[in-house]
Subunit: 363 residues, 2 copies
């Protein structure tokens, strides 16, 4: 097992990466402070891991409450109505301010459970037990929580840190292929934004990554979390540098919003978005056309999409982008690449250049 | 104009107390950082002050958006559904992360607008312009924001500080008598919990308080805010000492919840609750029966209720109290009085003594 540290002063917390951690009662219980627990999960994950997690929790602690809530699965349910189900459950079962919420699932469960924890009685503890690659390398680390609004993704939320993240490599074995690949997209992101050596490593390990080799999984998750923790520690509330973690996300969110979260998965949309960001960067003369092709090739070899869904056109794409949180005084600030491995947040591009990228990608 | 300072490190902010501040464009605009503003108010306050506030804002700033949202009035609307109206408005009108929300109204508007600000795009700036005595002396200061749930008051919320509080004494002139008196209850609270000299001062100024003498209003609001700011600066997130600000509130919330926020006003319920806390304190031998009578007399002379509504019985009262946020491991922690002017948070009372107080007050 590896242990990383997210350095955020009094809000610091550990990330554990290993195999079989869902069954590690001693590890889990070390991070439960009160005597009440609510495990929030979804209908896909519950049959696989809920009993095991609850057994681990009850083995190590004398709890007065050990409840579970099973939500419907999918990004389409990441909204205020589903969030309300968590509040209702907590209040009907009289959970106090000393309760701990445990998020068992992917990014949707983690984001919603984290936001419920941030806002139930103005804040209770929560533990992330991410079961997808995407949530292990990205959404469970860094404290971004929230839900979507019909008019935009993650528009309602809070910065709220977990007390621990427990990433069990075993859960990646049961992950559907498409979801696994969507997680790999966020892994590629870390190479692109700040870790050129990791980008090269990924190109060299495509076949082991696609085969979910456990040793390679561990290394990949650890290096991703280390990258993310470093950025978050430098800028918890995304005042500046943290925004580079959004490489491909403004483009990607526009796709997700237009498809109403029923088309490409988040990671898939980010894969397309990263390629669009690379394309725009090359139009600015920052990277070469061959580097864009290099990235396209890597994404394709990892089974990721590289084209915009047929329902989009460039006008709708631009309108959806302008709803993004990173708009400041009317200009959409984008994460672009000065090199493969060096990202920057900027509003300093011509509208015509963005239009060229949109025209090149939209059907 | 008086200026107080709430000392919370990087989250510090000023409180301004004076006359005609709604029309002070220069003062208001100093606390707007971006170029977008949404004023949230209610249908009672809007006809009185919305135009004046908007004129002040537009006189001093070149804003790209100056929107307003008028919500229905009353505690019954302080819920997730009304909160959603704020999110909808912000998104439909494309407010960015650099927008500022201005809460123009009483505690309900301030709590909901503050929570919307805490959670819109994971946090935007907000300014409190409290127009009721209760919100000026209590709810606008200290960063408690949130909404009610059918099963409990303020169960969903966040600690989130405004960038400024602007309290215009002029707005107290238009306040209905009952609401004014409800605010006076929270003023009495500061005397009871930590400021015995203020308690004596209040007894000496009953007639000026009832007459809303402007000089006395200024002094009363300033001393109340100073007391609150001191406590909040010592314990922002209510880990310990801040809980004394809840004197009378556990009893009061039980009344409000049972009446479904349609009976006594919050401050009125707190008045009854403070007297019940004093009664229990005297049963513990901490204060004398004559001190309880002294408080009852003061509350009555200020036009405040001192009896529990006829719909309550002691069993329902106890059940409603046990839902309070201040429950720890099954024990309701209460704010009780060691003396008039010295409060303590404690679970150290016998259930039978609490029962005696409930029986004495419930019809």
């Amino acid at each position: 097992m590896k242990k990383l540290h997210v350095a955020l002063g009094e809000r610091s917390y550990p990330i554990y990466i290993g195999s079989g951690l869902v069954d590690d009662g001693a590890l889990l219980c070390r991070h439960i402070q009160g005597r009440e627990v609510l495990v929030v999960t979804n209908e896909t994950i519950a049959p696989l891991y809920l009993d095991r997690l609850q057994n681990s929790l009850s083995s190590g602690l004398s709890l007065t409450k050990l409840d579970s809530l099973i939500l419907p699965d999918g990004e389409i349910h990441k909204n205020l109505d589903t969030l309300k189900l968590i509040y209702d459950h907590l209040l009907k079962n009289r959970h106090s301010r000393s309760t701990t919420l445990v998020a068992l699932g992917g990014g949707v469960i983690g984001d919603m459970t984290g936001f419920a924890a941030a806002t139930y009685q103005r804040g209770v503890n929560f533990v992330q037990v991410p079961t997808t690659l995407l949530s292990q390398v990205d959404s469970s680390v860094g404290g971004k929580t929230g839900v979507n609004h019909p008019l935009g993704k993650n528009m309602i939320g809070a910065f709220y840190q977990p007390v621990a993240v427990i990433a069990d490599m075993g859960t990646l074995k049961t992950l559907p292929d498409r979801e696994y690949r969507a997680g790999v997209a966020e892994v590629v992101k870390y190479g692109l934004i700040a870790d050129p050596g990791f980008y090269v490593w990924l190109k060299e390990h495509v076949s082991d990554i696609n085969g979910r080799d456990e040793r390679v999984l561990m290394a990949m998750v650890e290096r991703s979390c280390r990258n993310k923790a470093d950025v978050v520690a430098r800028d918890e509330r995304e005042s500046n540098i943290r925004a580079i973690l959004n490489l491909g996300h403004t483009f990607g969110h526009a796709i997700e919003t237009t498809e109403q979260y029923c088309g490409l998965l988040h990671g898939e949309a980010v894969a397309v978005g990263m390629l669009m960001a690379a394309d725009l960067s090359s139009r600015l003369g920052w990277i070469s056309a061959s580097e864009v092709e290099d990235l396209r090739h890597l994404l394709l070899s990892l089974g990721l999409p590289t084209t915009v869904p047929a329902v989009m056109n460039s006008k709708a794409f631009l309108a959806a982008m302008s709803l993004d949180k990173k708009v400041a005084d009317g200009v959409v600030r984008l994460v672009l690449l000065r090199a493969l491995g060096d990202a920057v947040v900027t509003g300093d591009y011509a509208g015509a250049q963005l239009q060229e990228t949109l025209d090149a990608f939209c059907p």
